[in-house]
């Protein structure tokens, strides 16, 4: 199953997926080249390859969506591809916003891993599911965008802590000089959280609208709803305290990373084992 071209050729989403993985891998190689060799042109090529990979990835997702008549979020592995695409999108946005390419070397393996999960574990689309409407699709995609933004914040915070450790222990390594400054990493992590929080609020709002249409209630408490509000609360606290005297710096980064475990819990345990409580049909 896949996209039908103008000449009747059907392009399978797995073929598009493997093409995408190849382009992303090339982009990652260039980001690593930029990080270790410091060649600015290698960095520019990495960005172009990332954008190209996102274009083919988009068509792979479109092919998968055509086959199941829905945005591909039916199963965990299928949705990881969507998460990978949003991760790449959010990263690209933040890269352009902060004009900082060094972090691509750390983000691209995550993108590849998520895409790989779909290609290796779930190469075939889930069975067709009943259509649930545009608002439901927006609810899910907004939430996945939020998860991708929180993933980026996690990566930035992790790199912050490693660099903070190296600087405080006076053990700078050659690669460190090519990483963003601590203040920039902190700013980038906060940008990621702002994007994530915004998307999560939008996603929850759409979810409440769907819930209201189906049940007449604005909010039906279930594990997914509870964990989503917890995530919202953790990251809101992070934003509040990350600039306070007691927390700014490494402590805020630890808080950001700790909050991310709630996201992972929501995406794995809750989605895999408790999703039956969170059905909009």
């Amino acid at each position: 199953m896949g996209l039908q071209g103008g000449n009747g050729v059907v392009i399978s989403f797995t073929a598009l997926g493997y093409t995408t993985a190849g382009i992303y891998a090339a982009s990652w190689a260039c980001y690593l080249g930029k990080l270790f060799a410091g060649n600015k042109w290698t960095g520019r090529v990495a960005t172009v390859l990332l954008a190209a990979g996102m274009a083919t990835h988009y068509f792979a997702l479109l092919a998968r969506a055509y086959s199941i008549h829905s945005v591909p979020y039916q199963d965990l592995y299928g949705s990881t591809s969507l998460l990978a695409w949003f991760l790449a999108l959010t990263y690209l946005g933040l890269e352009l916003l902060h004009r900082e390419r060094a972090m691509g070397a750390f983000v691209m393996p995550l993108v590849l891993l998520l895409l790989g999960l779909e290609l290796v574990v779930a190469p075939h689309a889930a069975p067709r599911s009943p259509a649930r409407g545009a608002i439901f699709a927006l609810h899910v995609t907004s939430n996945i965008l939020a998860y991708s933004a929180f993933t980026l914040s996690f990566v930035y915070s992790l790199v912050y802590l490693v660099q903070d450790y190296l600087l405080r222990r006076k053990r700078p390594v050659a690669m460190m000089w090519r990483l963003p400054a601590l203040e920039d990493l902190e700013r980038m992590a906060r940008s990621g959280v702002w994007v994530g929080l915004g998307s999560l609020i939008v996603g929850i709002s759409f979810g409440m609208a769907v819930d209201h249409r189906l049940t007449g209630q604005m909010l039906t408490p279930d594990p997914k709803v509870v964990i989503s509000f917890l995530i919202l609360a953790f990251y809101a606290i992070y934003l509040l305290v990350s600039r306070s005297p007691a927390w700014r710096g490494a402590r805020a980064s630890v808080l950001c990373m700790a909050s991310y475990f709630a996201v992972v819990f929501s995406y794995t345990v809750v989605n895999l084992y408790l999703s039956r409580f969170h059905k909009f049909y």
Binding site: L167, W177, A181, E183, S244, R248
Partner: protein, 432 residues
């Protein structure tokens, strides 16, 4: 036409002699112009930096007094006796001179290995000489290639990367903590040599606000004026600490200039915003226990020296790669130059054979008189064609085979050809 270099650098002469032998840009152009106008050389570039004064020349092989002429001009210009320079001057010819310039442009010949400034100095010097018409096809090619070598070495190796001095290592660390420094404030406590260097570096890196403070206010005023900083009274240090993100200390004395308690109070006052402390004092000025405070980064001279040493080792490990680039370009230039010389020699041989044909036919004009004008014209054309035919195969082999090109310059000796400028010939020996 070979490249000849005469020079003095930091390896062969002390700073006092180098200063005496230094050419300002104007003096360099003047000395070069004199060398060329006196007919000593055909092309000349004088390269003078704080580490070296070098004269690169190209002259026809028929000139026999090039080396002595260049040296005489060098000594006269600086009003020194040649004996005073015994053992200090170095001379390089041909391939060695080419390799030397490439090493200079690559930063391999610099006192600070891989320094970035030298490439700009080579470029400026070359462009000025070119504007004055002092360069020709060979030095144009040589200097343009040297700029390419310099760029490649910096792009493809880490020879020129990272910090090089204690002060610049400290600035690099500051940028690793704060990013661009234009939104940050810094204070320099103490106006010794290290403090002054740090103030200048901070200003050069575009620090937002800069204060200078010293026990002796006059010296603080003097450094503040020199570095474009603000002066701050010594007894207001606590207020400075609350505002400055970067604090450099270089104060003489045995007591802590900044104690842990003072810094803890400062961190409280500044809401725990990150603070980078650079202790350049010997003995140390800042209580090492301050490093335990949250969001404080404290580096002393030894820490910075360690970074400088790491960087030096990292740069040195890149030397073989840089030298490989230099060697590849030396080969390229040598191949080009031998090709240029060979093509020029062949063109001269052709010219000489035609001239001999003309002399031959002139000497036999009576014998040719019995032919009609048309027939004479045809005979002369056939003789010209014969010359072309004889030289056609050697010319083709010359274009194809590098070894033949290198041997072809023997044509000059065999046929007694006069030296000519390869720029007058076509083909690979054209203007570079």
């Amino acid at each position: 036409m070979g490249v000849y270099l005469l020079g003095v650098n930091h390896r062969t002469a002390g700073v006092a002699l180098r200063e005496r032998l230094h050419f300002s840009p104007e003096e360099g152009l003047r000395a070069a112009t004199k060398l060329r106008n006196d007919g000593v050389v055909d092309e000349v570039v004088v390269l003078s930096t704080c580490n070296r004064s070098e004269v690169y020349t190209v002259a026809a092989d028929t000139r026999t007094d090039v080396e002595s002429g260049v040296e005489r001009n060098f000594c006269v210009h600086h009003a020194v006796e040649p004996e005073q320079l015994n053992g200090c001057l170095y001379r390089r010819r041909g391939r060695d001179a080419v390799e030397h310039l490439y090493r200079v442009a690559a930063g391999l010949d610099s006192m600070l290995l891989g320094e970035a400034e030298i490439l700009g100095q080579v470029r400026e010097t070359y462009l000025a000489a070119q504007r004055e018409g002092l360069t020709g096809p060979i030095l144009n090619r040589l200097f343009q290639a040297s700029l390419e070598v310099g760029k490649r070495v910096r792009a493809e190796t880490r020879l020129g990367a990272q910090a090089m001095s204690v002060a610049s290592a400290a600035m690099k660390l500051a940028e690793q903590i704060f990013g661009e420094l234009r939104d940050n404030a810094a204070a320099v406590l103490g106006t010794g040599a290290m403090g002054a260097k740090a103030a200048m570096q901070l200003r050069a890196r575009g620090i937002g606000r800069l204060w200078v403070s010293n026990r002796n206010p006059e010296r603080a005023h003097e450094l503040a004026a020199r570095s474009g900083a603000q002066w701050a009274p010594w007894d207001k240090t606590a207020e400075l600490l609350a505002q400055a993100d970067i604090v450099v200390t270089s104060v003489a004395g045995t007591d802590w200039t900044l104690t842990r308690e003072a810094l803890a109070a400062a961190m409280h006052a500044r809401g725990n915003r990150r603070m980078f402390l650079i202790d350049l004092g010997v003995p140390r000025n800042i209580d090492p226990a301050a490093a335990e405070l949250y969001n404080i980064f404290l580096y002393g001279v030894d820490d910075l020296n360690e970074i400088v040493e790491q960087n030096r080792q990292a740069r040195e490990s890149e030397v073989p790669r840089a030298e490989a680039i230099v060697r590849a370009h030396v080969e390229k230039f040598t191949a080009w130059q031998s090709g240029a010389n060979a093509v020029a020699a062949l063109a001269e041989l052709k010219q000489k054979l035609r001239l001999q044909r003309e002399l031959f036919t002139d000497a036999r004009s009576e014998d040719l008189a019995r032919f009609s004008a048309d027939e004479r014209e045809r005979i002369l054309r056939m003789m010209d064609d014969l010359v072309e035919e004889i030289l056609r195969e050697p010319a083709e082999r010359l274009m194809k085979d590098r070894e033949v090109r290198e041997r072809a310059v023997l044509l000059r000796d065999l046929f007694g050809l006069n030296e000519t400028d390869p720029s007058n010939s076509s083909g690979p020996g054209g203007r570079g």
